[in-house]
């Protein structure tokens, strides 16, 4: 194929491709809006709660503030007791 033919094909691909991408994602836009409208939000899922592999760690992190405080204070008491 000569270059000018290729250029025309490429231009056609550009138009067709962008149109297709927009139509596709546009239909998805419609889908999501329908979902938002018809699916009850009775059980709002707070993002970090369900993620499997992360959860284990996150949960630990969530406990941390208390535990860390507890352990810190215990360590301090222990040290005080020892340094006496």
């Amino acid at each position: 194929m000569d270059i000018s033919g290729s250029l025309v094909t490429a231009l056609m691909l550009m138009g067709l491709g962008m149109a297709f991408v927009f139509i596709f994602l546009g239909l998805l836009f419609v889908c999501i809006n329908l979902m938002a409208k018809y699916i009850p939000v009775d059980t709002p899922v707070t993002a970090p709660k369900r993620k499997t592999p992360v959860s284990a760690k996150t949960d630990q992190t969530q406990i941390n503030p208390q535990v860390v405080a507890a352990i810190t204070s215990a360590v301090q008491q222990y040290r005080k007791a020892q340094s006496v």
């Binding site: 194929m1 270059i3 290729s6 250029l7 094909t9 490429a10 231009l11 691909l13 550009m14 067709l16 491709g17 962008m18 297709f20 991408v21 927009f22 139509i23 596709f24 994602l25 546009g26 239909l27 998805l28 836009f29 889908c31 999501i32 809006n33 979902m35 938002a36 699916i39 009850p40 939000v41 009775d42 059980t43 709002p44 899922v45 707070t46 993002a47 369900r50 993620k51 499997t52 592999p53």
Partner: protein, 376 residues
């Protein structure tokens, strides 16, 4: 003394030729970028290492029976490795931000203009003597603008296997360079006032919506673009495993061990295509140049689309998040956040930018499907 001669005639020293030496230096450069500069190290480290191994004279890594030969033909030529990685990426992706603000889908769509403009550019480059990109070559090169490693590798392995090495290297390098490429373009196309725009908080998204979303995406791909179903299908499988909440151990394995194992071998296999005869030519320079153009055009398109949408939208849209539409997850979203913080230190755009960011992944998978259907 016979043995000594055998050893000597076998050594690298006695067999080195310039092209292979240069390719090993390229491999070394990739290692440097990965380790010292921390450029997408998960892929550039194995790719760089694979490039070095593939170019060792007399070692035969790429010959039938060699390790890289098996890796390439079993995992990459078949498309299996990029598809498994894409499943893992799906299992790692949270579409919550996109579902909460579906308008950002159009930002992810607009940014794909980088792909198609580059396709046109690659054909134009044929006017320069020495370049002879076929339409398939041009399409495989253009997908660099999708800023998605597995998509680029999958498409290149189908349309232009000879260019796979250069295309993968360009794709991952530019993804790592996103924090350098994007900000000037973003600043040039926006006013300080636009960059300061605060966006509304995202609504909570129910688990049901998150479960239905990948199924809807799959369904529409089946209806309109079967050629994209390998990529989109595996991505949606990973995301469905994540969101369904009933196969947590499979989802966790897909996100961790499985994707890690395949990443090592995918990297080595891509590196095996960085051989001198395929890489050390004018076309590679063309690919690198076109790749940079693709990223820039994609960024600009996303930002301009966001500006345009901001005019007509009820809720405010910060045009910076349009740049995240190229994907390069999650780097481009972080860049949008960072540039936003420069304008207003209290304006966190990260969650808002995640919407176009993941939309860009779908957008380039769709674009890849269009190219496969028409050109492939």
């Amino acid at each position: 003394m016979n043995g000594l001669m055998t050893l000597w005639t076998d050594t690298g020293i006695a067999n080195f030729q310039w092209p292979e030496l240069i390719m090993m230096a390229v491999g070394g450069l990739l290692l440097y970028l990965a380790i010292v500069r921390k450029f997408e190290p998960l892929l550039l480290l194995p790719i760089g290492f694979g490039a070095i191994l593939a170019n060792i004279p007399n070692a035969g890594f790429n010959d039938e029976g060699g390790m890289l030969y098996y890796i390439y033909h079993i995992g990459i030529e078949t498309g299996i490795f990029p598809l498994i990685i894409f499943m893992g990426v799906g299992a790692l992706t949270d579409f919550g931000a996109l579902i909460a603000n579906p308008k950002t889908l159009f930002l992810g769509a607009a940014a794909q203009f980088g792909i198609f403009a580059t396709l046109f550019g690659a054909i134009i480059l044929n006017l320069v003597p020495g370049f002879e990109f076929s339409l398939a070559d041009a399409s495989a090169i253009a997908i660099i603008g999708g800023a998605d490693g597995p998509t680029a590798i999958f498409l290149a392995s189908k349309l232009a296997p000879d260019l796979l090495g250069a295309i993968a290297v360009a794709a991952y390098s530019y993804m790592a360079l996103v924090p350098i490429i994007q900000p000037p373009i973003m600043r040039a196309l926006t006013t300080p006032a636009e960059r300061e725009i605060k966006m509304e908080q995202l609504r909570p998204v129910s688990q049901k919506e998150k479960i239905i979303f990948p199924l809807a995406v799959l369904f529409m791909t089946i209806l309109f673009l079967p050629a994209a179903t390998p990529l989109v299908g595996m991505f949606c499988l990973g995301n469905l495993m994540r969101e369904s909440g009933v196969v947590d151990r499979l989802s966790s394995t897909a996100q961790n061990e499985l994707i890690n194992i395949v990443t090592i071998f995918l990297g080595l296999g891509v590196g095996s295509k960085l051989s001198a005869d395929k890489f050390l030519n004018l076309e590679t320079l063309g690919i690198l140049g076109l790749g940079a153009i693709a990223f820039s055009i994609g960024t600009a398109s996303g930002v301009l689309m966001a500006k345009a949408m901001g005019r007509f939208s009820k809720s405010p849209i910060n045009p910076l998040i349009g740049a995240a539409g190229v994907s390069a997850v999650p780097m481009a979203a972080r860049v949008a956040n960072k540039v936003g913080l420069e304008a207003n230190p209290h304006n966190f755009l990260l969650m808002h930018a995640m919407g176009p960011n993941v939309a860009g992944v779908l957008g380039s998978a769709v674009a890849a499907g269009v190219l496969l259907a028409i050109v492939g």
